[in-house]
Symmetry: C4
Subunit: 279 residues, 4 copies
């Protein structure tokens, strides 16, 4: 029993870079996730779905079976993950089930089983899309992801201030726009909320063309907004730019210090037993 | 009397981070401001306003009462603000009333009282939106706001040059556009001012689709403008980017110097009496 | 005669920051240029122009008289400009007339005099807009302008490469688009040149909505272009950003060096005679 | 024979900056490429093509003859390229034919010869556009191109993460959009794939106006997407900005080190014989 669990863990393990079997398994799951999202997309087109509904059902059944099996294996092998060392088996299982990854894994298979209850689960089925985030588990992207996340966290306060300012400007512009355009275009600018939609479409420079000012006053407000928009779009870019440079400089300095005193405490754990290895 | 004023000041005080009561009061006011803006937005939709007009009136009355009370308290306690120490009571009150914050506070309640005069005060009522800027008073955003404001001030001259250049290019393009498109589309390009609207919509890459060139000449001018637009949008971003980095480097150097000689002159004031405390 | 010329030069001189008279004269000219551009814009609207045509003519006559007088003064005082010291009077005049500023000054008044010849001079009259560039002569913007110009010059080669790449991608996309959309929308995509207009409108994210793909192939090409567009717009911004930082660092280093050895060779010239002054 | 080959190589050689004949030949080819692309563009307009079809054919014949001659010369002189020194003649020819440049050269003339086989070769003919990339061979752009390419390569992982994130957000938004808008606008949002087209047009801020949300739910999703779009467009710009600065700093440090120890191993090769020259 013990050895079967270890063998299964060896397959689903995501932390060992040199484990070919788990690598293959992970790429297989990822392919399945992408195909599964593609299937969900095609299902929404009746012209494609109706003639081939049986094939869709079979594929759906197959993917859910694979993901369910994976879910069960992960529960069975939760206590073998190095991070869970020291916990009891039951604690390790609970840790997995209530982790973000565990909830995503569960929620993405649940809709299939609830389907027999005849509820309208379309929204619930979209939970399967959450699995998509697992694509980022690939090791070689981890460093870049961490860098991107670090910069966003570091600069969230400055970006928040800018977003707040944009928001206030958009609200004020919406009110002015309402008084300027409502009488001329009551359908395009029905109320301040409708004007806010115009403000977003203008400030982000999308400009669908469904709502645009026609009065002189409206065009003046629109022009001001558009020009402010350039400046306010430039701000986050500048902040993020500065953030990346800071982070990169920090790293380079750390690397310099590392070179001077070599790391002695780099430890390797055995993926089977969790013991420290004398590499 | 003195002690009541101090107790009231303790509530409306915005400078003391550890004062829980004033914190609660500030968040309450902020919530009221946001709700009040929401109310103004909903009022513009007759379908929502007319059936519930009485509720809107009651809410309006309530908010104005709260803001009026706050205004009176601020006048009564103006002389207790540490910055006004040394001034007479009357001078402190005058300082508050004619400060930006004081004028905003007054203008945002005034429309309600003037309503009984049967004037059309719709535009005046929008003054209430000014209160919105008070949201930025939250302490934890102060540093970020200062950084953003510093960068804009530092770089206003470069940004001014770029904006001036954009403006001149847009004017010249408007004239060319008028001669190129007016005969073909007299409604879309009625005069140079109308062409300037096109220039703004194009240069900021909004592109509503209400005006666009159809002649060869117009399309050539439009293409040139669009490509110049990329470059000219890139300029402010680059300038602001550089500005943030400069500021961040400056701060890091200051922090280094601070570490070497610890600040001795950091003073704390009692929020009640304005006296220096031996923390 | 000599002293009159010097007095006139004192008025039109642009290099002396402390000369109040020339400052006033320059601001007056600038105001006249802006009003003159405004007049040209209003002239294009028949509803405004026709009832007030006489006022327009009088204003036009007045501005041309002022600019003509200025032109004559500049010719008369060309030999008094410090930079022209050492040249004969005739050489100095020739230098001014064939300089960029001189040609702009001439071309902007010429159309008025040619008007009597009954030619269609509408395009020629637009030359008056060139005067607009003189707005940038204001001293306090000079440093910022130089910085902006330096960055553009430094990075023109990298920006050229990016622009070349964008251009090639747009051409290739235009050809693919033609084969994808021409049969379905022969009017929107009449030929490759028409598709190029689509490519510009898409790549710069303007998106007027006059031309857009409807076929699957066209939408795939459009999506690719749109996503590449983000990247390719990001490139110039990044390049310019880096350029500004380089320049700013350079200046800071120069200032450091300056502080160490004070400038001894700073010379002041008399605006009247061009002689070196012992300040 | 040997001397003829050397003379021909002297003409087509691209590595020698001081070789005037090859420079002229290269500019001539480049002009021909640009004219040839222009010809292809004009051919797509029946109004221009049909009356002048004979001229188009003659020009087409002429260009293919020139490019064919160049191709033959390149094969004949492949063994004279310094990089191919040491290889046998046959190996050098094979190296050229299967190189990217060699394949481009072949594919761009092939369609002309296959034309006699009466196949529909329109797509194949577009291969001629590939020649366009040869424009970048001009020496003075090489440094800038290398810089741009280096930055893209350095940052491809971070940009990949951002693009992946954008992609996942767009897919999720497409699904929500489908459930929000499909019932109201079945034509604009026919299926999830159609919604994905909307997501691209919105996220890149193009906003053609062919598809846009009209329901409240759709507008909320659209607004969120639009605001996220600003942030996500700012990210690549920030990354690339940082990349350029890193590269520029690296270069400056290298140049400093170079100044300290002058390069001794700079070698010059004779373009005729490939021998090292004692410059």
């Amino acid at each position: 029993m013990e050895s079967i669990e270890k063998a299964l863990y060896y397959i689903v393990d995501e932390n060992d870079e040199h484990n070919r079997l788990s690598k293959f398994f992970n790429y297989f799951l990822m392919a399945l996730i992408i195909l599964s999202v593609g299937e969900m997309a095609l299902e929404t087109d009746d012209g494609i779905f109706l003639p081939y509904r049986n094939y869709f059902r079979i594929f759906d059944f197959f993917t859910v079976m694979v993901f369910s099996t994976e879910y069960i294996i992960r529960i069975m092998t939760a206590h073998l993950i190095p991070e869970n060392k020291g916990k009891t088996r039951w604690q390790a299982v609970k840790t997995y089930i209530f982790s973000f990854a565990g909830l995503v894994d569960l929620l993405s298979i649940l809709p299939f089983y609830l389907d027999f209850t005849n509820l309208d689960l379309r929204v619930l089925r979209m939970l399967r899309l959450l699995r998509f985030f697992r694509v980022f588990k690939i090791t070689r992207y981890n460093d870049s992801m961490k860098l991107v996340a670090d910069v966003i966290r570091d600069k969230r306060s400055e970006i928040g201030v800018i977003m707040g300012l944009i928001f206030i400007i958009m609200i004020i512009a919406s009110f002015i726009m309402f008084y300027a355009e409502h009488d001329t275009q009551p359908k395009a600018f029905p109320n301040v909320l409708g004007c806010f939609w115009w403000a977003i479409v203008t400030m982000t420079t999308i400009g669908y063309g469904d709502v645009f000012p026609v009065t002189y006053m409206g065009k003046i407000v629109g022009s001001t907004m558009a020009l402010l928009g350039i400046g306010l779009v430039a701000m986050p870019t500048g902040i993020i730019s500065a953030g990346f440079l800071e982070k990169i400089n920090e790293r380079q300095e750390k690397e310099k210090q590392k070179k001077e005193k070599p790391e002695e405490d780099k430890k390797h754990y055995c993926p089977y037993c969790g013991h420290k290895l004398d590499d």
